[in-house]
C-alpha cells in the first residue's frame, strides 16, 4: 500500500466524522500550543535576564571580600578576612595594566528624608567611574564628581526623586540620610530593575562618605573593567596576586565574572523552561489519551469494514498501518494547529509586552511536531492492533452500528 493510498484512505475515514476528528485535533492542538507558549515564556525569561546582563558589560570583574569556595583543610589559625579597601582598588588599577577602570562600591540601607517626606532607600557608595561601568544615564544634573570621594552630595534614583520631591526640581535641595545631610546634584534616568537591584530605588553618594555613614572600613565589592573580554583570565590571576600580597599572603576574595553569573542564570532558567515544557507535555499526553479513545471507538464502529478489508486481501500489517496512519494524521494535524496557535498567541503577548522577548525556541517547534506525530503513533498502537487482530468472520457478521 503506497503512502499516498494510505493517507488518502485514512483522511477519507476521518472526514466521515468531522466533529469527532475536529475535537481530537483540537485536543492535541491545545497540548502543543501550551508546550510552545510555555517554553516561549521560559526562553523569554532567559533572554530577558541574559540581555540585562549584557547591558552590564561582559568585561567586568566583580571582586567580593571573603572566600566563598572552601578548598582543602581549614586553616589552623583562622583569621577574619581582610577588608577590601579603596586602597586595594587603587592598587589594582595601578598594578594590573589591563584594568581600565575600577569602581569601589559600598552598600547600605537607610531612611532618606526630604522635608516631611521620608522613605527607606538603598544607599550606594560609589565613584564617578560607576556611571560608565554600569551604563547609567542622567535625567538631570550631573553624576558624582571625580576625585571628591568624601563630598556630601548625592544622586537620586528616579523613583526616589519622585517620592521625595514630587513635582519639584530636586537639584540643589538637601536630603538627610541618617545623621548626614547631602545636597542633590543629579537624578538618574529611570531604568527599572537590573539584576537584583532596582536602580530607581537607590541614592548614590561618594564611596568615602558612604563608609563613614555606615561606619564601615571595608567595601561591599569592587568592579573592575577590563580592556577586553579575552583578558579576563589573566587579569583574574593578577588581581588575586596583587590582593594576596596586600592581604598578608591570604587569598581572601572571591572573583566573579559576568560569564559565571550568566552561566548560572542560564542554567537555572534553562531548567525552568524544561520544567514548563514538562508541565505542558502532560496536556499533550492527555490529548494522546483522547486520540486513543477516539480510535478505539472508530475501530469498534468499523468492525465490518475491517473484516471486509481482510476478506479483500489486506494483511494484518496493512490493517495495522491504516489505523496507525489515521491516528498519526489526527495528532499531526493537531500539532500543526497547536504550532500556529502557540506562535500566534506568542505574537499577541509580544504585542502586549514589547519589553519581554517571547520567542519559541527552535527546538520546541521541531519537538512539538515530532512529539505530536509520535503521540498519535504511540496512542494509536493499541487501537490499531485491536483492529488488525479482529477475526474477519466475526467482524463481517457484525450488524451495522
Amino acid at each position: 500500500m503506497s503512502p499516498v493510498d494510505l493517507a488518502g484512505y485514512a483522511a477519507g475515514a476521518l472526514r466521515g466524522h468531522r466533529l469527532r476528528t475536529g475535537l481530537s485535533v483540537l485536543g492535541v492542538g491545545i497540548g502543543v500550543a501550551s508546550v510552545i507558549l510555555l517554553t516561549s515564556l521560559g526562553e523569554g525569561a532567559r533572554r530577558y535576564v541574559t540581555g540585562e546582563f549584557a547591558t552590564l558589560g561582559s568585561n567586568l570583574l566583580i571582586i567580593i571580600p571573603g572566600k566563598t569556595e572552601t578548598q582543602g583543610m581549614a586553616p589552623l589559625v583562622s583569621t577574619a578576612p581582610h577588608d577590601l579597601t579603596r586602597e586595594d582598588a587603587a592598587a589594582l588599577l595601578q598594578r594590573v595594566p589591563q584594568i581600565r577602570r575600577v569602581a569601589p562600591i559600598a552598600v547600605g540601607t537607610a531612611a532618606a528624608t526630604a522635608g516631611s517626606r521620608s522613605r527607606e532607600v538603598t544607599v550606594i557608595g560609589a565613584t564617578h567611574e560607576i556611571l560608565d561601568i554600569r551604563h547609567l544615564k542622567m535625567a538631570s544634573g550631573r553624576f558624582l564628581p571625580p576625585d571628591l570621594p568624601d563630598a556630601s552630595v548625592c544622586v537620586l534614583g528616579a523613583r526616589v526623586q519622585r517620592e521625595l520631591f514630587p513635582d519639584q526640581n530636586p537639584l540643589g535641595r538637601w536630603i538627610r540620610i541618617g545623621d548626614w545631610r547631602f545636597r542633590v546634584i543629579g537624578v538618574i534616568e529611570p531604568r527599572g530593575t537590573s539584576i537584583g537591584m532596582d536602580l530607581d530605588e537607590v541614592v548614590e553618594i561618594p564611596v568615602g562618605t558612604a563608609l563613614r555613614v555606615f561606619n564601615r572600613s571595608g567595601l561591599f565589592r569592587v568592579l573592575a573593567e577590563v580592556g577586553s573580554h579575552s583578558d579576563l583570565g589573566t587579569v583574574k590571576q593578577s588581581v588575586i596576586d596583587v590582593l594576596r600580597e596586600r592581604h598578608a599572603g591570604q587569598e581572601d576574595v572571591t572573583l566573579l565574572t559576568q560569564d559565571s553569573v550568566l552561566e548560572t542564570f542560564n542554567q537555572i532558567l534553562g531548567v525552568l523552561t524544561a520544567a514548563l515544557a514538562g508541565i505542558a507535555a502532560i496536556s499533550l499526553g492527555v490529548a494522546g489519551l483522547g486520540i486513543m479513545n477516539v480510535m478505539l471507538v472508530t475501530v469498534s464502529e468499523r468492525g465490518r469494514e475491517i473484516g471486509l478489508l481482510k476478506a479483500l486481501g489486506a494483511t494484518h500489517r496493512q490493517v495495522l498501518v491504516v489505523f496507525l496512519v489515521e491516528a498519526a494524521i489526527l495528532s499531526t494535524a493537531g500539532g500543526c494547529l497547536g504550532l500556529l496557535g502557540g506562535l500566534g498567541s506568542g505574537r499577541v503577548l509580544e504585542h502586549l509586552y514589547p519589553d519581554f522577548p517571547v520567542q519559541a525556541p527552535h527546538w520546541a517547534i521541531v519537538a512539538a511536531l515530532i512529539v505530536s506525530c509520535s503521540v498519535g503513533l504511540l496512542f494509536g498502537i493499541l487501537p490499531a492492533r485491536r483492529a488488525a487482530r479482529l477475526n474477519p468472520v466475526q467482524a463481517l457478521m457484525r450488524r451495522k452500528a
Partner: protein, 238 residues
C-alpha cells in the same frame, strides 16, 4: 482445485463447544458451479469462510491448488484472499464513504497495483457489471441490486479463480436477484469456479452440482442427471 477432507470446525463457546462442521469431505474442480444448501445453522457459512481462507478449520485438511492451507502463514492467506478468491456477501459490504469505483479499487490497493492500472481495471470491471454510468456514485446512491453488482465487480477485479457467494440474493427482490445470478453465472461460463450458498431452491437448483448440508455434515452431493433447469433469460419469481 479445492480438496477438503475431514474438515471440522468447533466453536469453543463456554463449556459446551459447538461443532459447526463435523468432518466434511468435498472436492471441487476448477470451473465448477456448486450450490450449497441446507437448513439454517447447518454450517453453510462456516464452510464458505473456510473455503475463502477467512477462517481456519479446527481439524482436517484443505488443499487449494495443491497447497495445504493449514501450513500457510497468515500473510500468505491474506495473499490468497486477495488474489485467488473473490467474496460476495449478503449485505454487499461496500465501504459507504467510497464511490463505486473506489470500492472496486480496494483489493488492488492492498495488492499494491499502481493507480493508473487500478483506475483502468476498475473501469473495466464496472463495464462487466453494467454500471459504468454509476462509477462516481456512493453506495447510498445505489439500489440494492446495483450495490451487489459493484460488490461483484470488486470480487472479480483481481481476476480470482474462485468466487464465493454467501446468499448473494438474500437481500434483493427476485428480479434483481435473478440479474445477479445471471451475472455470476456468466463469469462461471468463462472459467471462474462458482460456489453459492443459498436458501433459495430455484437459485440453488441452477447449479451444476448440489451440495446439501445438515447439522455440520454433507448429506447430499449430487450432479443432477438432467441438464440443469437453466432457462435462458430472466428468472421467474419463486
Amino acid at each position: 482445485m479445492i480438496e477438503l477432507s475431514g474438515i471440522e470446525r468447533i466453536y469453543e463457546v463456554g463449556a459446551s463447544p459447538v461443532r459447526a462442521l463435523k468432518g466434511v469431505n468435498l472436492t471441487i474442480h476448477r470451473g465448477d458451479y456448486v450450490s450449497i444448501m441446507g437448513p439454517s445453522g447447518s454450517g453453510k457459512s462456516t464452510l464458505l469462510h473456510i473455503l475463502g481462507c477467512l477462517d481456519r478449520p479446527t481439524a482436517g485438511s484443505y488443499r487449494l491448488d495443491g497447497r495445504e492451507t493449514a501450513d500457510l502463514p497468515e500473510v500468505e492467506l491474506s495473499r490468497v484472499r486477495g488474489h485467488q478468491i473473490g467474496f460476495v456477501f449478503q449485505f454487499f459490504h461496500l465501504v459507504p464513504r467510497l464511490t463505486a469505483s473506489r470500492n472496486i479499487e480496494l483489493p488492488m490497493v492492498f495488492a499494491g497495483v499502481p493507480v493508473d492500472e487500478r483506475r483502468e481495471r476498475a473501469g473495466r470491471a464496472l463495464e462487466v457489471v453494467g454500471l459504468t454510468a454509476r462509477a462516481d456514485h456512493r453506495p447510498d446512491q445505489l439500489s440494492g441490486g446495483e450495490q451487489q453488482r459493484v460488490a461483484i465487480a470488486r470480487a472479480i477485479v483481481m481476476d480470482p479463480s474462485v468466487l464465493l457467494a454467501d446468499e448473494p440474493t438474500g437481500n434483493l427482490d427476485s428480479r434483481s436477484g435473478g440479474e445477479i445470478v445471471q451475472l455470476i453465472e456468466g463469469m462461471n461460463a468463462r472459467g471462474l469456479t462458482l460456489i453459492v450458498v443459498t436458501h433459495d431452491p430455484v437459485i440453488g437448483g441452477r447449479a451444476r452440482r448440489w451440495v446439501r448440508l445438515a447439522d455440520g455434515n454433507v448429506v447430499e452431493d449430487k450432479v443432477p442427471d438432467e441438464s440443469p433447469a437453466r432457462p435462458v433469460g430472466p428468472l421467474k419469481a419463486s
